[in-house]
Symmetry: C2
């Protein structure tokens, strides 16, 4: 039967090894370009509390050469690993054809979430990196930290990496893993040292108290603020925003749930001070880096259009693969 | 492999013939009982416009013996039939385990939508029907009208059926179909005649102008107002509400999108005049019919908890069936 008439199911192994980071970068770039061109279906968010956790559903669509609408339905159940041997954050992405609402596919969500978040930093980096050799600092040692390095390596060489984080044992394991995987000199350091010796800084922790101080940031640094994606999360000293240009994935999100929320709440910047959205850099409406001195912050909150664009990219690339299981829902 | 660890896909034929209307009645009754007991996860709604149609996502959950959370993602694309040979309203229901967010299954949505709506009327009818022989009037001749009759027959005998509707050809075909299927005397009549000769009246049309006049309604009638489920839809003369008790599926919904919206807007009733929610009849917190004279309106808007409860019922009943395809999403 024609795979086009089936609703397909993509578990992790059905696509993880067949998609490269460059694919996600292409998809995320396309999503934000469409967003800047007004070719998206409005994004939206639903939250619900359950007894042992919470659900959040993020919706949106892209109106490109092909048009898609969909949603990510994720649960955050922070005792899952302990109680059920399941991921703490888990769920699915649902993709439909935005021309006629046909149900195209569902996907395991965590791989796409991880990769699209990292890809967004790489897309931003194309326009915001400093010139010359890149000294990367990373605060955080989770899967996302690794993906961020992988993504940045798709758009630049990296001379050295300094990593920091709260748990020294985990940090040590992370250093070993990164050094082995990417064959780049990696060292573990205090956050202050990492910041003072970097011109690209990625923060990707779940912190709710900032740990990067303003005085540690070198002129000309590109900061990817990845961790803050909900009210209260905070990684950067809000004072950094006083001397920086802020680029967000989607402005309406970063002012509410991104790193920018704190600088705005403290009156350090106004909403209207947000310099650009990612899509405006891609379309050329707004110039990216304009000099070697400016500090540029990419405030990354993660967007439904990134999820949908990546899911659509996977769908387009793999839909004819007969190993992908599926069924005509209307039969 | 254990079906419990798979995310299952239920297309129409995988469950339609294996589920009886009584199953849906049980599931809907359970959902509203849990709602009255405060054992539900908050319902919510997202709407988005697409170039050729619109999407709506309804979410909610039930916390019963087993707990479920989920959503229905439907598109309304009113040129689908003509342009693509697809249903005009189509989509999926997604079901997860509300203990840990595990993705349990997706279902084609239209069969469940149809059956749960009809089942809700039957549940209400248990508490609201007049005594004695039932003379049923139905305005509307779509799939829902047929399902409403099927559902009512699960909870009462019906002596005769009178049907009305705008298109006489379609109405004639409907009469033939109903007479043949249910072996009950059926006749087509004007709306006035149908109303004047009924003690149970079901309205299930997409009308935005009411067609049932107050003076046509007999004392003691049970009215199931099924059509109105969004702002502007209207089937009943709002004056009927002045002399009736109103029971809704969910009060917060009926005052906004149900038939009650019009009576409230015209000042005929206040929100606080809503007599009960369906679940309060089921738990016995509020008595159903108390005398032979009162006119009782069941304002049916359709709820996410009905969708989720029915999907969960199907899942529980059929999950061990090896013919249901599925895959472990995390492998």
């Amino acid at each position: 039967m024609n795979q086009e008439l089936k609703t397909l199911m993509f578990n992790r192994s059905s696509f993880e090894h067949l998609m490269k980071m460059d694919d996600y970068i292409n998809a995320v770039s396309m999503a934000h370009k469409l967003h800047a061109e007004g070719k998206c279906i409005e994004t939206n968010l639903v939250h619900a509390d359950a007894p042992n956790g919470e659900y959040h559903i993020k919706t949106g669509g892209i109106l490109g050469e092909n048009s898609y609408y969909g949603l990510k339905a994720n649960g955050g159940f922070f005792n899952n690993q302990r109680n059920h041997g399941l991921p703490n954050i888990l769920g699915v992405i649902y993709l439909s054809n935005a021309e006629n609402a046909y149900p195209l596919a569902i996907f395991e969500s965590s791989v796409i979430s991880k990769m699209r978040t990292a890809a967004a930093t790489a897309v931003a980096a194309k326009y915001l990196l400093p010139k010359g050799s890149i000294k990367l600092g990373v605060v955080g040692y989770g899967n996302q930290a690794e993906a961020q390095i992988e993504a940045l390596l798709c758009v630049t060489n990296i001379e050295q990496i300094k990593v920091s984080g709260r748990d020294e044992v985990k940090l040590g394991l992370f250093v070993e893993k990164i050094a082995k995987r990417f064959q780049i000199p990696v060292s573990m350091n205090t956050i202050e040292y990492t910041c003072r010796h970097s011109n690209v800084l990625v923060t990707c922790t779940p912190s709710t108290d900032f740990f990067v101080k303003n005085e540690w940031i070198n002129k000309g640094t590109f900061i990817a603020a990845v961790g803050a994606d909900s009210p209260g999360k905070n990684e950067l000293d809000p004072q950094i925003f006083a001397g920086a240009k802020v680029i967000g994935d989607i402005k309406s999100q970063i002012i509410k749930v991104g790193e920018s929320q704190h600088a705005i709440a403290k009156g350090i910047i106004k909403e209207t001070d947000i310099y650009a959205e990612l899509g405006e850099l891609i379309t050329g409406k707004v110039e990216g880096r304009t000099n070697d001195e400016e500090i540029l912050i990419y405030d990354s909150t993660g967007t439904a259009i990134q999820d949908i664009a990546c899911a659509a990219y996977i769908y387009e690339k793999l839909k004819e693969n007969k190993e992908i299981i599926g069924i005509n829902m209307f039969e």
